[in-house]
Homo-oligomer: 330 residues x 2
């Protein structure tokens, strides 16, 4: 009896050892040799390795976070409108958001009613969302052929998102209301590109947080310039003396601040480049801005733009009755 | 007595399995980075950092392993080249791939050596990957001002990916080799948009699977036309009588087929629109094509293109010595 027990213990031990060996072997599979560094100085190597290490640590922190539910919520307001690339854009955006814990997506269509495309897309997305709609009045809308900068796009939809948040805020009680105190609001257009780290940076925003935005305004990046931990001016190529020369993708606002300042909204009649300022000047002064992304030295979001697809052959084929099946959703 | 004998047999079996695992792990340890052995003296700091880095990478891989492991692998070959939107594109693409179990990313840079940007990006991506590079010869490269359709882009890089797969295939033995028999290869450019469903469609490919591609070739979509479960022709606006009028994003090939047809490669000198055919005609006939995505009635991938960002203000500011800090990675 004693003998058998011992045998069992040894057996279990071997099982664990063999399992560890196998897991290690599996992990090694597919890992490639790192052949860089031939021409690199030791100092360069060390700094590069440090950088890689830091990035991995951040990655792990992010993925550990995905299990957490006790972190402040991020409400992301995304205006969207029907166009050929809409479903593609929403698709890849949703893949990013699916990695972010406690993200609540507020999608606001520029439409008289919710469209089947967006409705079905959201239902299948796996995300927590609110699906709103608000048609831009005709006189405020870009007309065919207008340059995209003539009128700000998405102002009405962002205001509708704010309205929804305030309605929700007014109805919240107890624990729910306390949770809202900590939440943050971000305006994420559906064509930009967002790193996962961005969301962990903005999650803890006391009033208004700011950071660099890549590939915006005819520049490699725009950013707040930070001195002694304070934003002192802005690196931008255009009207640096606007109240807040910040792109929509470059700031987040605490929900508390939005709820306690019901007058704060986007002015759809604002001059080009002044839409962000029209909203922010109700909420904050430059002195209060909280710099994120390593004191605004890292680009964690890119103002990418997707080309409008050419439909020349489609048009030709449609005239011949040979166009793409309109029943197939693109 | 019987009981004890059985236990012994199991015990011996486990002993062998554990030994194999350990031997494999030890072999891997010895192999690591023999390419770096060169004339470099082994600074303790470097080796320590490398050790830490490796541990973290293993940590990440272990948590990735918790995903499904009993499904065929998907090897995704992505050619990429340095440009302003490169990091943004790779970032959102990686967010998609992170959702796909058993995806192995083969990233091939069009560069004389691996760039720090892609190297660091991949190390922090959380994905299983191979990082390759292959410079396109100058005479095959698009020159400044050439229209993008003049020469096929990425042919050399895709061939380099194929070379890597064949090398891996030749080295595989036993269970590993058996797993490769089931794997599938997909060529995913870094600017397209991929639904998650696409990968589950293509995972089970016996020879060559095909499906519609949205927003390509001046059309809402191109697609194989299926009758009685067979591909009989192609819905496309251009040269429908090419051998395979299919965009790169519209097919996947079983790895087995690639390994048993070593002559199959992309012809970098192929006429416009014939690059896909130059590869596929070595592997399959139209009759063999396996229609996916509900008999090619669903669009699950979009040929999106990202605008080249304008750098007009950046150029102006740089002339004044006020350009964006070149040390900030975009």
């Amino acid at each position: 009896m004693r003998m058998r027990l011992k045998l069992k213990t040894v057996f279990v031990l071997y099982f664990m050892v063999s399992l560890l060996g196998l897991i290690y072997a599996l992990m090694q599979l597919g890992q490639r040799c790192d052949c860089r560094g031939h021409a690199m100085s030791k100092d360069q190597q060390i700094s590069q390795l440090r950088g890689e290490l830091q990035k991995l640590q951040e990655h792990i922190k992010t993925s550990e976070l995905s299990k957490k539910t006790d972190v402040p919520k991020i409400y992301v307001i995304t205006p969207t409108y029907a166009r050929l690339v809409q479903k593609a854009e929403l698709t890849r955006l949703s893949h990013t958001f699916l990695h972010v814990p406690q993200l609540h997506w507020i999608v606001v269509e520029d439409a008289p009613q919710p469209t089947p495309l967006v409705t079905d897309f959201l239902a299948a997305s796996g995300l927590t969302y609110a699906h709103l709609h608000k048609l831009t009045p005709k006189d405020r809308k870009l007309q065919e052929g207008d340059p995209s900068w003539l009128k700000p796009r998405g102002a009405e939809q962002r205001n509708e998102g704010l309205r929804w948040l305030r309605e929700m805020g007014a109805a919240a009680e107890g624990k729910e209301a306390a949770a809202l105190e900590e939440a943050v609001v971000y305006f994420a257009d559906d064509d930009n590109t967002y790193s996962l780290q961005l969301f962990e940076e903005i999650r803890y925003t006391y009033r208004v947080s700011v950071w660099p935005v890549g590939l915006v305004g005819g520049m490699k990046f725009e950013r707040p310039v930070v001195e002694d931990g304070k934003v002192v001016r802005f690196h931008t190529g255009w009207h640096p003396n606007r109240p807040f020369p910040i792109d929509m993708a470059g700031f987040a606002v605490s929900l508390r601040l939005i709820l306690t300042n019901p007058q704060a909204r986007f002015d759809g009649d604002a001059q080009m480049g002044f839409l962000e300022s029209s909203f922010l000047q109700h909420l904050v002064t430059m002195d209060d801005l909280e710099p994120k992304a390593d004191l605004c030295t890292k680009v964690l979001v890119w103002h990418t733009r997707t080309e409008k697809p050419k439909m020349k052959r489609e048009d030709t084929l449609q005239k011949q009755g040979l166009g793409s099946d309109p029943d197939v959703e693109v």
